[in-house]
């Protein structure tokens, strides 16, 4: 590491004692680079074994990496915590201004421990840390909270504002943390952990320069990366239509989960395609700080008031592939306006829209199958495509008027344990599925991924490339997934956006690391990737994860995937092999 680089400074904040201190953790950054690598170690250090996710001792760890602020596309913050949704490793990534703001404030990581008795927001401006009273903000939506904090804090343009909505306050296990209104620390409940600490918002800002190893070589490297980022095809795809460009291809191959995965295609998919949203609704495009690609697409939803036709409200709603899957095809909604209405509401509550969509899809099928007593529906009609029912149900995930909504608020795993319908409860390790029914690799990927995310190992891409050519033997498939997950730990430790994975190949990473004073060999880099994966799995096993005890939802065998029917025996062989391998690679300590 370079002298004067603040990357190794870790800010520890204790919300119980209302204290903070900065500790130099060069040891961690030298060994694990930053981001996920450092966060995993801090989690192992800070989170006592076996605690409840809402125990005040559960730490919230936010980590960035050495390339942030130096090179384009290094734009992510990794959050780690114990997840209230999976009861295990919680890891979530977000961009926006978060990574650069934390780096410019002079930190490589922030650790928040303890819990406050009264609502507060934490403000970090460089070396200054303030805990502010958030009593008046409690109960306010994501949007309004963001506005109030914005108006009360300095650092405009140089700050990140993370906050929770009502779902986080009520500690719904799939509540997320919103970042700059349009990005999220999504999935597996970071918002609920914020809520358990009475932490309504966190604002971080700063402005500084960063040292580099060789100024000339640095500028050259920068130009090269910038050039590639602005001219490559892949980047153009994300830039033009955003991730929503994947709707039509996924639907065409039959890999777009529809009506709780009763099908892999939705009729009239073109109406909710990236193309249709761009044409009919795109209102603005945004980028994360220091990203020339700018994949964030915001729809303008312009609607008259019911009784005042000449009063309009225009809501700006960020859309991506995943929300379109979860609140669109999964619920049988192919009317973009209705999809945006639902997404807007769920976002403002601060619920993870992917989990919320899968939960509502399960609920619809459970109602259809007569599993839910009518009086528990509280007058709400749940049927495919019926967005008004879904809006009403989403509201009830918060107000919880009946045991049914109380159960839904805990996710499909729990709800199906109460009402039945386990076969079509689409979750892995407690986390609801993402939108890829591409074949066995996708599902094995969700199951095996340390955080049960499709981004852990990109199984969906293995399906569409390798498996499309020939059925890879289960053992080889598992090896491929684990190898990819190891490699991805490097990107998430540098905190380079996964969309830039082709650009930041090993050679580019090594050259980048050299400029931030962390020269190393390709072998060492690969080794670090595996070490990080191992550390994450060590945490998982310590907290009781047992691969063989996991259930694979029966539904995935009933509905043809993009590669045709998924063979149950194949899956079982793969899982048995993976369980063995994980036991060997990450022995419980």
């Amino acid at each position: 590491m370079l002298p004067n680089d603040p990357i190794s400074r870790v800010l520890y904040i204790d919300l119980t004692k209302k204290t903070s201190q900065v500790v130099d953790r060069s040891d961690l950054f030298e060994a694990y680079i930053g981001g996920a690598g450092v966060a995993a170690q801090l989690l192992l250090e800070e989170c006592p074994p076996g605690i409840d996710a809402f125990d005040p001792r559960n730490p919230i760890i936010l980590a960035v990496g050495p390339l942030v602020g130096n090179l384009p596309l290094a734009s992510k913050t990794v959050a780690m915590f114990k997840s209230p949704h999976t009861g295990n490793l919680g890891e979530s990534h977000a961009g926006g201004r978060s990574a650069v703001a934390i780096r410019m404030a002079g930190y490589g990581a922030i650790v928040i421990k303890g819990a406050s008795e009264t609502p507060l927001w934490v403000s970090i401006d460089g070396d200054e840390v303030h805990l502010r009273d958030a009593t008046t903000l409690w109960g306010l939506s994501n949007t309004v909270t963001g506005r109030v904090v914005r108006e009360n804090e300095g650092g405009a343009g140089l700050r990140t504002i993370l906050r929770i909505g009502r779902a986080g306050e009520q500690m719904l296990p799939y509540a997320n943390v919103m970042c700059e209104t349009y990005r999220h620390f999504g999935r597996i409940g970071l918002g609920a952990v914020f809520g358990s600490k009475k932490l309504k918002a966190l604002v971080v800002s700063g402005k500084r320069s960063l040292p580099v190893a060789d100024r000339r070589a640095y500028r050259q490297l920068y130009d090269e990366i910038y050039q590639q980022a602005t001219t490559s095809k892949l980047m153009k795809k994300y830039h033009d239509l955003g991730t929503a460009s994947n709707i039509l291809p996924l639907n065409a191959i039959g890999g777009l989960p529809t009506r709780n995965l009763q099908a892999g295609r939705i009729v009239n998919a073109e109406r909710i395609s990236g193309e249709a949203f761009a044409e009919g609704y795109l209102g603005r495009r945004l980028a994360c700080t220091h990203c020339p690609v700018g994949c964030i697409h915001i729809a303008a939803l312009r609607e008259p008031y019911e009784n005042e036709p000449y009063f309009m409200r225009t809501r700006m709603v960020a859309y991506d592939y995943e929300p379109i899957f979860a609140l669109g095809s999964m619920l049988g909604i192919n009317e973009p306006r209705n999809l945006l209405r639902l997404l807007d509401r769920i976002d403002d509550f601060g619920l993870d829209c992917m989990s919320a969509g899968v939960v509502l899809a399960w609920a619809t099928e459970a109602v259809e199958k007569g599993l839910i007593p009518a009086d528990e529906l509280d007058g709400v009609s749940l049927r495919w495509g019926g967005y008004q029912g879904y809006l009403a149900a989403a509201e009830r995930l918060l107000s919880q008027p009946t045991p049914f909504y109380q159960a839904l608020a805990r996710g499909v795993d729990y709800a199906s344990s109460v009402y039945g319908g386990r076969e079509f409860a689409l979750a892995y390790g407690g986390n609801e599925i993402p939108g890829y029914h591409t074949g066995p690799a996708a599902h094995l990927g969700f199951l095996l991924g340390a955080r049960h995310s499709h981004l852990d190992n990109a199984g969906y891409s293995v399906d569409q490339k390798e498996m499309l050519k020939e059925t890879v033997p289960p053992e080889r498939l598992i090896n491929m997934l684990l190898e990819e997950e190891g490699a991805r730990q490097i990107l998430s430790s540098l905190v380079v956006c996964f969309f830039a994975r082709n650009l930041y190949d090993t050679n580019m990473i090594l050259r980048s690391l050299e400029q931030v004073g962390m020269p190393m060999t390709a072998e060492r880099l690969a080794e670090i990737g595996r070490d990080i994966w191992r550390a994450k799995y060590q945490f998982k096993l310590r907290e009781g994860f047992d691969l063989l005890a996991q259930t694979v939802p029966q539904r995935i065998y009933e509905t043809d995937s993009a590669l045709g029917p998924i063979d149950e025996t194949y899956m079982q062989q793969a899982i048995a092999y993976a369980a063995n391998l994980i036991g060997e690679l990450a022995p419980a300590s």
């Binding site: 650069v100 780096r103 410019m104 040292p211 580099v212 640095y218 500028r219």
Partner: protein, 131 residues
């Protein structure tokens, strides 16, 4: 030639221009950036892109008590850092807020109208124009 903002509606808020400006020093980060990009109060409303307009009779130079800022022929100002006492009056004098502050050295970051940022704006928001 002076730096101008072509159309803020094209700005995605990536701040690549700010990083470019700061990188002229050869360093990373944004401490010395002479450009500011920030939202108009929520990103949904778009962005303000604040650059120095290279005024003919620059108020910032007039406000400087030590003569550290002097008007340049053709517009804009030049900073003599050794004369600057870091009082901040130049920054207060610019109604656009185009005089940025470098906290690392406690002196203003003055745009020299070099146009380096222009080639790092991916969306053509910035351009050099004849005055």
């Amino acid at each position: 030639m002076r730096l101008s903002v072509v159309d803020t509606e094209l700005c995605v808020g990536c701040q690549c221009c700010m990083f470019a400006c700061a990188r002229r020093s050869g360093l990373g980060g944004i401490a010395s950036s002479a450009i500011t990009v920030r939202s108009m109060g929520g990103m949904e409303k778009g962005f303000k892109v604040i650059v120095c307009r290279a005024c003919d009779d620059p108020p910032c130079a007039r406000a400087c008590p030590t003569g550290a800022l002097t008007p340049k022929p053709g517009g804009g100002v030049r900073l003599n850092a050794s004369k600057c006492i870091g009082c901040g009056r130049c920054a207060q004098a610019c109604v656009l807020g185009a005089v940025q502050w470098d906290d690392d050295v406690n002196k203003p970051s003055i745009c020299i109208q070099c146009g380096y940022c222009v080639s790092f704006c991916p969306h053509g928001v910035l351009a050099m124009e004849d005055k």
